[in-house]
Each structure stands twice: as structure tokens, then as C-alpha cells.
């Protein structure tokens, strides 16, 4: 599955990490891939210095399984939690910015064959892409490789209009099963929408996609971004419970 958004700052990385950790905690084998090559984040949370980056895989310097670092022992998880990281160095970011369409063709085929290799060789139950926001090549490559797309949005006007366009122009065109995760929603906005259920239904109707989850804005989470995995460290927290509900919905899709 791929987590995508029209705008940045919607909380995709936190959702990907916490969801992936929860699945691994439930005994599933999980692989997270940081496909946000322009603003890598997973390396910050996991404090990673892998031997190979996903960038190396796309350049043909290694196999995709060589990029994966198992985090399950560190977090004492019953299932595996493999993570593939993208290179955060300025050199790597500049390199990505300079890529042409011919390279993007290669990146697409490597993304799709890489997905197959991970699922086959690592017996992964869930492969989760964290992507760049908007219409970036790497994001759409990841969407092309995913069976299910979760659109993460904040439900402001910028997000709503942009998400509708993405839905028509990309998700529908790729024929991917999609759903919305509303994240960082102010309680006042939920109340003004007539409560969580009514607010959620309005957004579903507006965007034309089913609602997978609704997570209200929690200031303490913003401060902890990149520092804690709540589904492991604080399983009784409201956020962790929301992730649990999202996990159950995604399993049924």
C-alpha cells in the first residue's frame, strides 16, 4: 500500500511508521520504503545508516533487498519490520532533482520489480510506501506499484481541491483502490461538521473516496514527530487506537 497526499505536512510518515509497527506487533512481516526522495524522513526516526540506500537500488548498484534493515529486534516485535531508506544527503537530493525522463522509466520498472522481489524473497505481508506529496515521479511510481492507496489529508480547502484533482487524474487513472485518512483535524472543525461521523461523510461525498480513518489534531504528537513510535511505546494513546482502527479498515479493503 502507498500513503500519498496532495500537500506536505499531512502526517504520512507518522502514519506509515506507526501502522507498519502495529502490523509487525501483530505478527505480520512488514516492509516500509521511504519513497520521499526529495525529503527523506524514515532515517531520522530510525536513526539509520544503512549500507545501501534505495537510491543505490534505483541506480543499479545493489538489489532492493540489500537496502532493507530489520528493525524488529530493536523494538522486540514478533513480526519482521524491514525498512528501506532514501539518502538524505544534499548530494543525493541534487542528484534526484536532475533526473530525466529516461531515468524515470528505469525507476518505474525497478520500483515494480523491486516490489515483487521484496514480497517473494522476504515473505512480506505488508509493503508500505511513504511518498512525496503531490505529483512527483517517485510518488506516482510507488502508486503504480501499490494495490491500495491511502490519501492523507487535512481537510482544508487547499487539500480538498487538490485531492479531488489527484483522485481524478492519478488514482482513478491507475485504477488503484483508494481511501482517505483525515489527519490533524481540529476538534472545532469536526464539531462544526456535526461530529466525526457526519464530518467524515461530508468529506467522503466531496472527494468521492471512502473514509479509512479520522484522526483529530493532537499537539503533543507534533512535538514528538520523528522521535517516538506510539503504537509501540504508547499503545493505549488515542493516536495508537486510531491507527488500530485504520489498520482494521485497511485489512478489509
Amino acid at each position: 500500500m502507498a500513503f500519498h497526499s496532495y500537500k506536505g505536512g499531512t502526517g504520512k510518515t507518522s502514519l506509515v511508521v506507526n501502522l507498519g509497527a502495529l502490523f509487525a506487533k501483530q505478527g505480520a512481516n512488514v516492509c516500509l520504503l521511504d519513497y520521499d526522495f526529495r525529503a527523506p524522513s524514515l532515517n531520522v526516526l530510525f536513526k539509520a545508516k544503512p549500507q545501501y540506500w534505495l537510491n543505490d537500488y534505483l541506480e543499479g548498484r545493489c538489489e532492493i533487498v540489500d537496502t532493507l534493515v530489520d528493525q524488529s529486534t530493536r523494538y522486540k516485535l514478533p513480526g519482521k519490520l524491514w525498512v528501506g531508506f532514501s539518502n538524505p544527503s544534499m548530494e543525493a537530493l541534487k542528484d534526484i532533482m536532475g533526473k530525466d525522463r529516461k531515468w524515470e522509466v528505469k525507476a518505474l520498472t525497478k520500483t515494480l520489480s523491486g516490489k515483487k522481489a521484496i514480497v517473494d524473497e522476504k515473505q512480506v505481508d505488508y509493503l508500505i510506501y511513504d511518498t512525496s506529496p503531490g505529483a512527483q515521479y517517485s510518488s506516482i511510481n510507488a502508486l503504480a506499484g501499490a494495490d491500495l492507496v491511502s490519501l492523507v489529508m487535512k481537510a482544508d480547502e487547499f487539500d480538498l481541491e487538490g485531492t479531488k484533482e489527484l483522485s481524478k487524474g492519478v488514482y482513478e487513472a491507475l485504477g488503484r483502490k483508494s481511501g482517505i485518512v483525515l489527519n490533524k483535524i481540529p476538534l472545532e472543525q469536526i464539531a462544526a461538521g456535526g461530529g466525526a461521523e457526519s464530518f467524515g461523510k461530508q468529506i467522503e461525498s466531496d472527494v468521492g473516496l471512502p473514509l479509512v480513518g479520522l484522526i483529530p489534531c493532537m499537539c503533543e504528537l507534533m512535538a514528538m514527530g520523528g522521535k517516538a513510535i506510539y503504537t509501540i511505546e504508547k499503545p493505549d494513546h488515542t493516536f495508537s487506537k486510531s491507527i488500530g482502527q485504520i489498520a482494521e479498515k485497511l485489512k478489509k479493503m
Partner: protein, 123 residues
């Protein structure tokens, strides 16, 4: 006739001209698609675009049936129509037809290895 009326007519003619250009471009595009699907060339001087690249922007513009074949091929790397038909759950003859349409559009290449024909995306 007044100069105001003249200006209005000229403006209308300019708009008509722009619309005719838009329709003409769309017709050219329809002819390209028809030719690449093996139809008759109504306008032989319109060439099939060469060196189209099969990146996601091209993928998004493909009809659903061709996109499915292209994505499956991108995942396998190099494959016969039989291999692809197992991925797409379509009959081999249908898959072969779609792959050959992609070859005609210069998005996919094919080569012979013994008795088998393998399709691949050049990158």
C-alpha cells in the same frame, strides 16, 4: 458597417480559428491512436511518435487495457505473452494483441529467443 461591428466580427473569427486549431489537434491525436491500434491512416503524413518513454506520465495517458499490460511487463522486466497473461489473468491471444499495440506505439520492444518472442521495456 461600423468599426465596432468590424472589431466584433474579427474577434469572432479569431475565436473560431482557435477552436478549429484545437479540433484539428484532437483529430490528429485520434488518427495517431487509430494508426497505432492498426486502423487505417486517414492522414498518412502524421507520423507515429517515436521514442515515447514509458514513464508514469505516459502510463497515465494509456487506455486501461494497455496500462495493465505495461505495468505487468514493467514488473516482470522481460516476458512472453504467455507470462504476461498469467499476471493479467487475460487470454494469451488478447495479451499478445495488447503487447503488440504497445510495440506499435514504440513504448515496448520485442525480440526473439529461439521459438519464443519476449517483450521488454527499454530503459
Amino acid at each position: 458597417m461600423s468599426s465596432k461591428a468590424d472589431a466584433a466580427i474579427i474577434d469572432l473569427l479569431r475565436k473560431l480559428n482557435r477552436n478549429v486549431e484545437i479540433v484539428s489537434r484532437k483529430l490528429d491525436r485520434l488518427i495517431e491512436v487509430e494508426r497505432s491500434a492498426g486502423g487505417h491512416a486517414l492522414h498518412p503524413s502524421v507520423p507515429v511518435p517515436e521514442n515515447l518513454l514509458l514513464d508514469v506520465t505516459t502510463l497515465l495517458g494509456l487506455p486501461d487495457h494497455l496500462r495493465k499490460s505495461a505495468l505487468a511487463l514493467a514488473s516482470l522486466g522481460e516476458a512472453t505473452a504467455t507470462d504476461l497473461s498469467k499476471e493479467t489473468s487475460r487470454v494469451r491471444a488478447v495479451e499478445s494483441d495488447y503487447l503488440n499495440q504497445l510495440v506499435a506505439m514504440s513504448l515496448v520492444k520485442k525480440k526473439r529467443k529461439g521459438r519464443d518472442v519476449y517483450f521488454y521495456i527499454e530503459s
